[in-house]
Symmetry: C2
Subunit: 463 residues, 2 copies
Amino acid sequence: MKSVDIRELFQNTQAYSDREIMVEGWIRTNRGSKNFGFIELNDGTFFKNLQVVYEEDMDNFKDVAKLSIATAISVKGLLVETPDAKQPFELKAKEVCVEAPSSSDFPLQKKRHTFEYLRTIAHLRPRGNTYAAVFRVRSLVSYAIHKFFQERDFVYVHTPIITGSDAEGAGEMFHVTTIDLNNVPKTQEGTVDFSRDFFKKSTNLTVSGQLEGECYALAYKKIYTFGPTFRSENSNTARHAAEFWMIEPEIAFADLNDYMDLAEEMIKYIIDYVMQHAPEEMQFFNSFIDKGLLERLNHVASSDFKRITYSEAVELLQASDKEFEYPVEWGLDLQTEHERYLTEEVFQKPVFVTDYPKDIKAFYMRVNDDNKTVAAADLLVPGIGEIIGGSQREERMDVLIDRMKSIGLNEEEYWWYLELRKYGGVKHAGYGLGLERMIMYLTGMSNIRDVLPFPRTVGTAEF
Amino acid sequence: MKSVDIRELFQNTQAYSDREIMVEGWIRTNRGSKNFGFIELNDGTFFKNLQVVYEEDMDNFKDVAKLSIATAISVKGLLVETPDAKQPFELKAKEVCVEAPSSSDFPLQKKRHTFEYLRTIAHLRPRGNTYAAVFRVRSLVSYAIHKFFQERDFVYVHTPIITGSDAEGAGEMFHVTTIDLNNVPKTQEGTVDFSRDFFKKSTNLTVSGQLEGECYALAYKKIYTFGPTFRSENSNTARHAAEFWMIEPEIAFADLNDYMDLAEEMIKYIIDYVMQHAPEEMQFFNSFIDKGLLERLNHVASSDFKRITYSEAVELLQASDKEFEYPVEWGLDLQTEHERYLTEEVFQKPVFVTDYPKDIKAFYMRVNDDNKTVAAADLLVPGIGEIIGGSQREERMDVLIDRMKSIGLNEEEYWWYLELRKYGGVKHAGYGLGLERMIMYLTGMSNIRDVLPFPRTVGTAEF
């Protein structure tokens, strides 16, 4: 007899009702009494458990009653609808077989654990409700993103992870090397002899696939990347990880407004997809992690995102009664407290802030006619702050070279990026969405370590 | 007027026929004569070009006739069906605007270039037919894989890229570090002081997400990974890259046969999806890259894959008249020439070879009752050889520990992997599919450098 997924029982109950079936899964709870017992069985395919009822006429009744949490079992029995009970149906067991025992010291017992503790057992934590929900949502969000872009004929591009260049001109990168650190080969001048390294040059882990993505946008018109990115920033906060996943769409024949239209459509699509495909998980987050989550997400999915300029944002912040920790002044970057004030208190919905001062933004962003600001836009959302950053790209070769020079970037290293401007380098725009921020936003989880399966942060690379 | 994607014109011609439309794209060819001219326009959304006809009554006729390849233009005009011509329709231009000029030295001119040369312009090569086709297929294959698993309720897991452990117990990993190679801090004992490194320990780039994937399979029952993996192997061959993408599904309550059923279904699904969604590209490969490709793929999609044991394979090879370069003997690994002989000449379809000698396979593969072989299976396909490797995993704690000891793996480092066997560690199985091998198989491209957007190989990390 082939086993049935528990998801299938919940979603297609009629087909199994009053029939003899087999299920397999892990025991979440087991309450045995003298004559009968209940097992809450979870097979990982569905958030909710299947209630299994077993009675004393079963051969191994006494053994079953003693089975501990996390034991893997298979159960044959009759599926019976129970319209008057808490659960819609239960499985009346005829046969319970142990597929793999569990030691009684299984750490995820009924009692509540702190997230901090659960991080130390990252190999087991997806077997508990919170993380089972988080990581299913992570999977669904990822797929929703692929689906959104593929339905619109975007080409998915795998930009390189190991890179010889630095996409943002910022430091904070991890070195990648095969050199033996105990015995670093040196040149005659006494510096590292990279000719002895695997790539015959110094290489790093990517901080963004955007520049390579632009090459492909200027071939396919519409592309997106979806892959891991890295930052060796020494920030031990709830929002920073050394390894995280980014989605970077890039569109040609497009300007800043096209990017904002696309990003807004995408955010709404993702919310809608997750609400539809993980209603049980979303209900759980709404009840136990972040009350009001569903209302907030429904509101976002149905509202038009606000668009204001950075200059307008500064005025709003300066006019406010709110006491901010960081100063607000034209020319300074907005801090999370400012972003959250705008999106949570002023507009109570997502806000694109556009046209930032060029000195606080990256070299590849298109300089506006005022020569003071760039065609950049960040999307701010309630509860998080910035979730997307993007811009129209500088397509004018001379302006781009000036910007690169002014921050000390080596033109020669970026010869290929500059060449894009030489051959039909039409206007184009793109953005980056941090996958983990999106998941935090959708689940209400407040620490990035709790939405990454095996988080890598300063001082931590366990498992 | 909003522009229409050229894909849309080909797929939904009726809706645009005899209507005034606007398109945008890059010039592939421009043949002007005295009174009229033709532009082959490609906007990247579709493999085929749109034929644009312009005539001398257009204001800027003479300028348009001079536009060079790769110029980005927008064209307004009337879409006219041309049932008697080579192309199904053409755009009669009323207005042609230059959106971005192109220098006349654009390297992808009509003449044929070698793949070797095109690799040196990886930022431009997707604008030519071959790579435009390759990288759209790469995108579609990637999505087909997600779709296949998501439709079957598999959870997509992002296993870590930076890792403190070595999933296969093999060397050949890249170090990841923030230590300044010019000035490596040392301990009192004179070894590298990793307490000064970002993660306070030695870390590497992952060679496989399988072990972490197993943690999640034992929570969700059905999971898959899809991400980059790395090998610092010093192999300068057409089949090896230092950075490549892998898909690693893992299923619980499952044995070797379940893995083979799933893998076979997946391969057929991918072929079917790509044939349906990129017929023009596949036709191109069949005509210009690998004659017979479509016939071979259709055959594979409709045949039952063969399953034989390693011992049977060795007998077949030994009984053959074929001269092999490498010896065939029970206990030695099969080489590509052996694999290709089995799949291409003996069976002429994909073949799973199962139950390899345990000494040539990884420590985590389940030892069979004969204590000589393991429950492993490799899938061999014509033209490539091995495309998938997988196994049932060793779920018995004592056997697993023995295997780890015998190859000198540090048990303590794998405490979490061992613990999976302690808590409901039911039988489970999984496999790894190399994305690039799959793409080579589907396109007939014979060098891995030609299916990776920006390949990383020994001595090369350009762009």
